[in-house]
Symmetry: none
Amino acid sequence: MIILDYKDRRPIYEQITEKFQELIIKGALKEDSPMPSVRSLAVELSINPNTIQRAYNELEREGWIYSVRGKGSFVSENTKALDLKKDEWFEDFELLLQKALVLDIPKKEITDKVMMYYGEGGI
Amino acid sequence: MIILDYKDRRPIYEQITEKFQELIIKGALKEDSPMPSVRSLAVELSINPNTIQRAYNELEREGWIYSVRGKGSFVSENTKALDLKKDEWFEDFELLLQKALVLDIPKKEITDKVMMYYGEGGI
Amino acid sequence: MIILDYKDRRPIYEQITEKFQELIIKGALKEDSPMPSVRSLAVELSINPNTIQRAYNELEREGWIYSVRGKGSFVSENTKALDLKKDEWFEDFELLLQKALVLDIPKKEITDKVMMYYGEGGI
Amino acid sequence: MIILDYKDRRPIYEQITEKFQELIIKGALKEDSPMPSVRSLAVELSINPNTIQRAYNELEREGWIYSVRGKGSFVSENTKALDLKKDEWFEDFELLLQKALVLDIPKKEITDKVMMYYGEGGI
DNA sequence: GTGGTCTAGACCACA
DNA sequence: GTGGTCTAGACCACA
């Protein structure tokens, strides 16, 4: 379910948070369903429980999950966290568009790329 | 000419390389014109010469500048380096588009943003 | 009668004690009336009887209820417990007022908030 | 400057973040002035550097300080973080006022306490 | 068993 | 030297 990439420059805890965000967004993990326990996931991924703990802390802080001491961690209602994530996306996109202007990349190359990913028609 | 932002998360040497790339792309620094000396720039920015050296090494490695022993560093013909930079840009853009699909961001919101930066008409 | 909030950061047993204190203060549970049995409440709330037991122990320790071996737990005369609770409240309030001074929060904003909750006139 | 209270129920890292927030709010630590290094503070307080690190991470996340790799941590412009802190204060205060209504604490006792801390006149 | 905190100590990127 | 990440392992509160 979760595969770590040690060659990735991003820290492991960040790879884990991202992966879970994706699973929640895609609906693979539904509201109030239990997250794997810190310890079991640590064993499964062969990494230290502290690293999982840190990832879960991040997810909780951003509103993706909630933790119940003695019971485990569970998926939250995710609309707020998702909105935050989308806002971040647009910030990143604007930075990239500024760079595109500096690099003099033609508009058409950009919109073509968008069409490649989204298809010509539709929304 | 160059302003460092210590609050920026990126390392100083990276801020410097980026800034010079921008100056070269914009034509502010022309082919074969001399780069500021490592020492003078270190003094000007009040930072460690090692950090400037690292930035210059990076720029040379990517083909933006070339160094002549005993004379200093000079701006290269920049087409190759610029192409590399554009390739990198498209890699970043593709990663972002993948994320957009996951986040279910509508195509229209993306193209609208592009229009905001590039204008409706033209290229 | 009692609804647990697993997303609440406070432990379950504390939510339960608080809720019973509230019911006793409001007069919903009168002096010498029986508390629900540990087992029945555990079943009703679908939680571990240990957790209920811990909450009842807490309530007994603070003088809200008393237990009779073989018969169950009953609501005490609650004046002492209520006074303790009020003392705690004022301790919390003083801590908050100290913080308010540090944060430089204007007196008027505080008294306005009090009026919002208590109304302008009266006691 | 910083005294830890091991009898305090709050974790050490939280005591540290609170203390620094206070020092920044009071102006004892001014914008862009350096924070003690993670290691030196760990030695001074005889605790593990990881615990300091965690406190500094919190402070950075909330906008009180910014960290520059290889240089150290520095105090940020603190208006945003302060506003957040005030918002939190009012949330706590509203919770307390709700409890006050349940406990039937007279309005006068509350406003009297406010006067004790703020004085009768002024703002 | 489950999450939360903390210590001791290592290694890395960066200045 | 400075912050950032991670491991190994301990102990606590809680269910």
